[in-house]
Amino acid sequence: MSSKVLEIKNLLMQFGGLKAVNDVSLDIHESQITALIGPNGAGKTTFFNCLTGVYTPTSGDINIIPPGKKLIRANGLKPNKITEIGLARTFQNIRLFQNMTVLENVMIGRHAVTNAGVLGAIFNGKKTKEEEKKIIHDSHEILKVMNLEKFANEFASNLPYGAQRLLEIARALATDPFLLLLDEPAAGMNPQETIELIGTIEKLKHEFNLSILLIEHDMHLVMNLSDMCYVMDYGRLIAKGTPEETANNPTVIKAYLGEDF
């Protein structure tokens, strides 16, 4: 088995009396797609928010191991630091920069891997100019990969819904991640769009050598994509295994899928 890129140990996230994430441990391996499924309110998104620094977990460990680098303990790091380390995320309820163009949205993603400052901006020297050029160039490349090139100059708010979801992913890719966290990437997509999305995610995995963790309700997508599947309910992990194993697990069926799935 390939090496680990993320290692979660006994993660606990408590809000008042509510244990939204309760003693969750899981590993994510390099170049694998891991799915996290579970009923609404099971704590999946909260778990995501702990990983990406939006929340600081109550206890437990979040260890990030960038390929070929040393382990970093990520508890309590700010979201931008986590992004710099190489974890990028999308949001369940789309959070694009609505009044910026598609290209500009992706350009923001390049923020962490570039460094022109205030003085650079004012004097706009050769280095700054070249960096700007490179940002535009790289962003454009990413748009091509995501097949969003034709929308490049449109405002994000004017994009069709499916394309907005893709732009979320494009923007995350722009930060040069090794681990991509997708929060319900297919939510609100019709089956046709979902099928296309499966292809796109596959392609990204190979082209950028990405590891992917995704939260999803669409079992079709989960079954088709993931190498490993974890199931959460009431903040706890209740099952893990290959997608087939999970789909046939009686506990999972009872809590989540329903009899006739």
């Binding site: 928010n49 939006v54 949001f91």
Partner: protein
């Protein structure tokens, strides 16, 4: 330590707090429902005080009984303040309900300037003295060094208003509609709630509270001018934020805390810095509790 002095400050802090509470209530309600910092709310207090003064003077010079005068003046103050509040909303805020909040804020600033200068122009820029209408309560004689009749009246009126208001918001239908509108106005529409009516009632109640505060404090202090609303308005706003803006209990708590802080600050430290304590305390609290004393954490759902 001088215990007497301490009590004097405590009681005067509660008086300030009561007045701030009456005004902060309006701020917080309006904010809760239309998410607008009604910069002109302090002006409604001033309008209330002026209407009260005018009516009271007319009656007083005509020789009407002081207590009756005070009651009638307060009623007129409430009516006119509320009418102004509702009118302002219709003219200056309603058209801006679906635009950026900053535009509505500027509109509110415009209203504030307009009302100040309206009163300045049609009345005077000088201080006017408020007729002395509050009777001396005999039972206060043993403690008259610490507690005056107007103070007692302020406490009682504030308490009555706050209780009535709580009942209104908690148990009546319109109160429930107000809370619903504050949380999700679009959804409230879909449930058949007439939100224009809800907003009008909100402005009406808030302005009425401010008017009561205006008349009470004016009869205690004894004089008013067109500018009294502005600084008190800002203080009440501070109180509302201190408690957690949008939270009614928070506004009341914030108001009393602020009143006490100011009273003790001026009494024990220095009266030169009277207005400084409010802000200093606000900054201290918000640094440790960014959403105010009783405010819900602003953490958005991600």
């Amino acid at each position: 330590m001088d215990v007497g002095y301490f009590f004097k400050l405590l009681l005067s802090g509660l008086t300030r707090g009561s007045i701030y509470a009456l005004i902060a209530l309006g701020y917080t309600m309006v904010y809760g429902i239309i998410k607008l910092i009604n910069f002109a709310h302090g002006e409604l207090y001033m309008i209330g005080a002026f209407t009260g003064l005018i009516v009271a003077s007319v009656l007083n010079y005509a020789g009407v009984d002081p207590v009756l005068t005070l009651v009638i003046a307060t009623i007129f103050a409430i009516i006119f303040s509320s009418a102004f509040g509702v009118t302002i909303e219709k003219i200056a805020y309603k058209p801006l309900r679906n635009t950026q909040r900053l535009s509505a804020l500027i509109s509110a600033i415009g209203v504030s300037m307009f009302l100040q200068n309206f009163v300045l122009l049609f009345q005077t820029s000088d201080f006017l003295s408020f007729p002395n209408l509050i009777p001396e309560f005999k039972f206060l004689a043993p403690v008259e060094n610490y507690l005056s009749s107007p103070q007692i009246l302020i406490y009682i009126c504030t308490a009555i208003f706050l209780i009535g208001f709580t009942v209104l918001v908690k148990f009546t239908k319109i109160g429930k509609a107000m809370r619903a509108t504050a949380q999700d106005s679009k959804m409230s529409l879909l449930l058949g709630i007439n939100i224009n009516k809800v907003i009008s009632v909100t402005f009406l109640t808030g302005s009425a509270a401010a008017a009561i505060g205006g008349v009470l404090i004016s009869s205690q202090v004894g004089q008013i001018n067109f500018y009294i609303g502005f600084i008190v308005g800002i203080k009440a706003f501070v109180a509302a934020v201190l408690g957690g803006i949008g939270s009614i209990g928070g506004a009341v708590l914030g108001a009393f805390v602020l009143g006490l802080v100011e009273s003790f600050g001026t009494g024990y430290i220095s009266s030169d810095y009277e207005d400084l304590f409010a802000f200093l305390f606000l900054i201290l609290i918000l640094t440790f509790k960014p959403s105010g004393l009783l405010g819900k954490s602003l953490k958005q759902k991600v």
